[in-house]
Symmetry: C2
Subunit: 332 residues, 2 copies
DNA sequence: TTGAAAGCGCTAACAG
DNA sequence: CTGTTAGCGCTTTCAA
C-alpha cells in the first residue's frame, strides 16, 4: 500500500497566489534566468505563506537530469562502506544532491538486480565497490549512459571513473614490512575471500611477495562468514592449533586482527615477541588498544569525497589512486 | 553540471515494438490488471530486446505515490545508525522500496534543512532518530502528510510511528544492576550529551536511580566530541586522576567503555575487582575482548526492520517498544 | 522581464 | 482483455 499525498501545494498555486506565471516562479526558485527584484519578493512571500515544497520528482522528470546519486554497496556492517558513504554524503549534501543506496550482501547477482533497480531512478551516477561485476551488470551500466564510479579498488579496468587504492600493493607492502622486520614463519587468517575480492587480492599479492623472498606462507585459516572480531579470534586459535611455530600472522583486516590480538591477550601470548600481528584498514580502535595495531590505513572517507566531487563536476573518465599509509604500530 | 540521459528506451517504444498499447505494457510490467498470456510474452520479448528500464521518476509522478523511504540520521560513524539502516534496507529492498538518506551530524538545524530537502522527493515515509526535533521540522513533517517514523527512542510523544526502546529504562536498569552487584562509588564517562540526547536520557535516569538509593554519582567526566574508543580511554584516565576511589564507571556507550577497558588493561587496573565497567549498545566486539563487556544490548537491526515493515504496511500510528537485554558480562 | 504552451515518461480511468 | 486519453508537477523553449 503506497502513500497518497494529500493537499500538496503546487507551483501553479504559488504562481496564482503571487500573481505571476508558473515559469516565473520556477525561474525565481531555481535562481535561473531573469526576473525583477519585486517579482522575486512576491514569489518568495507566496512560497513562504503557502509552505510550498518543490516536487523534485516532477522537476527531475521535466529536466531529464537528476541529482540522485546511487550507491550499491556490499555491506553496511563493514565500516569500510559506511566510511565511504559518509565522505560522499557530506559532499553531496552540500551540493544539493541526494544519496540513494542499496546493499548487495556481497552477492554479484543481487548487485545486478539492485543496480538495475537503481537505474530506474535515473541517477546522475552509480557508485559501486570494486571491479568484480557480472557481465550483465557491466553491460547494463554501460548502456545506461549514466556515470559509473568504482570504489576502493584500482586493480582492474575502470568502466568510467575509479577512486581508491591498490589492494595488491597493500598486500605486497604488508608482506615486505613483515619480512623487513625479520619475520619468516608467517601465517594468514582470513574470511570468505570469494565474496570479498579485495581481501582476496591483498592475500594473493601478500603470498607472492613471500614466495619471491623464498619464505612462503606456512599456514592459513579461512573462517566461514564475514569478517568480525569474533571470527578473527577463533581463526587465530584454530591456526595456532595446527601451526605452532609461526612468528607472525597476517589478517584479512583489522576486525579480524583485533580478534587475534584479543586471543593472544587472553592466552598470554606475548605480542610481538612471541607472535606478530598485522591487519588492514587502520580503524581508530586499533590505536586505542594497549599496543597499537600494526596495519595499513586506507583513505576511505576521502575516497567517498573525491568520488562525489568527480561526479558533481562531471569529470572525464579517470582512475584516481589515493594510496594508503603503513602504520608500524606495536604488534609487528 | 547534471547528467543528460541519452538514448533511453521509453515505454512508448516498447509498446510500439510489441504492437500493443502503452497501458498494456504498463499493466504487464506492473503485473496489475488483466492481459493475455500471449500479450505478456510479446511485451516481455520487446522489453528484453530493447533493454528497457522503466523510469520510476515518471512512474512516481504519474501515480502520486512513491516507494522512496527517506532516512535522516545523525551520523554514519556511529554503528547504531548503520545497524538501523541495515535492518531497514533489507526489508525495503525485498519490497522494491528504495532507501534514501542524509546525515545531520547531530545538528537539529541541519536536520530541518535535510528533512525539507527529503520531502521534495515525496517519500512514502521519513525516518528520524529520536524525538528531539526543531519546531520547524515538526511542523513541516506534520504538514507534509507523509508518514514519519521516530527511531531508537520511546521517551517522548511520537508524531506518528515510533520504534525503539526506552533510553530512560536502560539508564535505570544499568544503575540498578551496578547497585545489585554491590557497587556504591560510581562514576560516569560520557561524550557530548547535548547532541546525543538519547545518551543524555540514559545518564539522567541512571543518576536518578543512584540518588534514590542514597548513593549518588561521585564524579563524571564529559569528553568533547563524539563517542569513540580513544575518547573513552582518555575520559577514564582523566576521571581517575580526580576520583581515585571509584569502584565502578558507567560509560555513555560501548565504544567509550571499550576505551575505558583498554585503559585499565594498559594501566594494570584489575577488572572488575578494582574497577567495574558498564557500557551500552551490546556491540559484538564487546564479547570478543578477554573479559566480555557488561552492557545493555539494544535491538538496532530489528528496529530498522520493524520500522520498514510498518511503513510498507501503511500501519496506523503507534509506538513499538522492542526492549533491550542486559548482558552481565565480566566487567561489572 | 515575463507568460503560454508543449512536453518529460508514465499511470489510471474509461470506453470498447 | 485492450487502446485512448488525460493528466502528475515541473522545466523549457519561444514569443511577446
Amino acid at each position: 500500500m503506497e502513500f497518497k499525498h494529500q493537499s500538496t501545494v503546487t507551483l501553479a498555486e504559488v504562481a496564482q497566489a503571487a500573481g505571476v506565471g508558473e515559469s516565473t516562479v520556477s525561474r525565481v526558485l531555481r535562481n535561473h534566468g531573469s526576473f525583477s527584484g519585486r517579482t522575486r519578493e512576491r514569489v518568495m512571500a507566496a512560497v513562504e505563506r503557502l509552505g510550498y515544497v518543490p516536487n523534485r520528482i516532477a522537476g527531475t522528470l521535466a529536466s531529464t537530469g537528476s541529482r540522485l546519486v546511487a550507491f550499491v554497496i556490499p555491506s553496511l556492517s563493514n565500516i569500510v562502506f559506511s566510511d565511504v558513504l559518509r565522505g560522499a554524503s557530506a559532499v553531496l549534501e552540500e551540493n544539493r544532491y541526494q544519496a540513494v543506496f542499496s546493499v548487495t550482501d556481497y552477492d554479484p547477482g543481487k548487485e545486478e538486480a539492485l543496480a538495475t533497480a537503481m537505474l530506474a531512478w535515473r541517477p546522475a551516477a552509480v557508485m559501486l565497490a570494486g571491479y568484480e561485476h557480472t557481465d550483465g551488470t557491466m553491460k547494463m551500466l554501460r548502456a545506461s549512459g549514466c556515470r559509473v564510479v568504482e570504489l576502493l579498488d584500482l586493480d582492474g579496468d575502470a568502466l568510467d571513473i575509479a577512486v581508491g587504492f591498490s589492494n595488491r600493493a597493500a598486500g605486497r607492502e604488508s608482506a615486505a614490512f613483515l619480512l623487513r622486520r625479520g619475520y619468516r614463519r608467517i601465517g594468514y587468517v582470513g574470511h570468505d575471500l570469494d565474496r570479498d575480492t579485495r581481501a582476496g587480492k591483498r592475500f594473493s599479492s601478500f603470498c607472492d611477495t613471500l614466495d619471491a623472498n623464498g619464505t612462503p606462507l606456512i599456514a592459513r585459516e579461512i573462517v566461514a562468514g564475514a569478517s568480525s572480531v569474533e571470527n578473527g579470534k577463533q581463526g587465530l586459535e584454530r591456526l595456532l592449533a595446527r601451526a605452532t611455530d609461526l612468528d607472525a600472522v597476517y589478517f584479512s583486516n583489522d576486525d579480524m586482527a583485533l580478534g587475534g590480538y584479543f586471543h593472544c591477550l587472553a592466552q598470554g601470548i606475548a605480542i610481538p615477541s612471541q607472535l606478530a600481528i598485522f591487519g588492514y584498514n587502520g580503524l581508530d580502535i586499533g590505536r586505542a588498544i594497549p599496543q597499537p595495531l600494526s596495519t595499513i590505513r586506507t583513505p576511505r572517507v576521502t575516497t567517498g569525497q573525491i568520488a562525489a566531487e568527480l561526479v558533481i563536476a562531471n569529470a572525464p573518465p579517470q582512475a584516481i589512486d589515493l594510496g594508503f599509509e603503513l602504520i608500524e604500530g606495536a604488534t609487528a
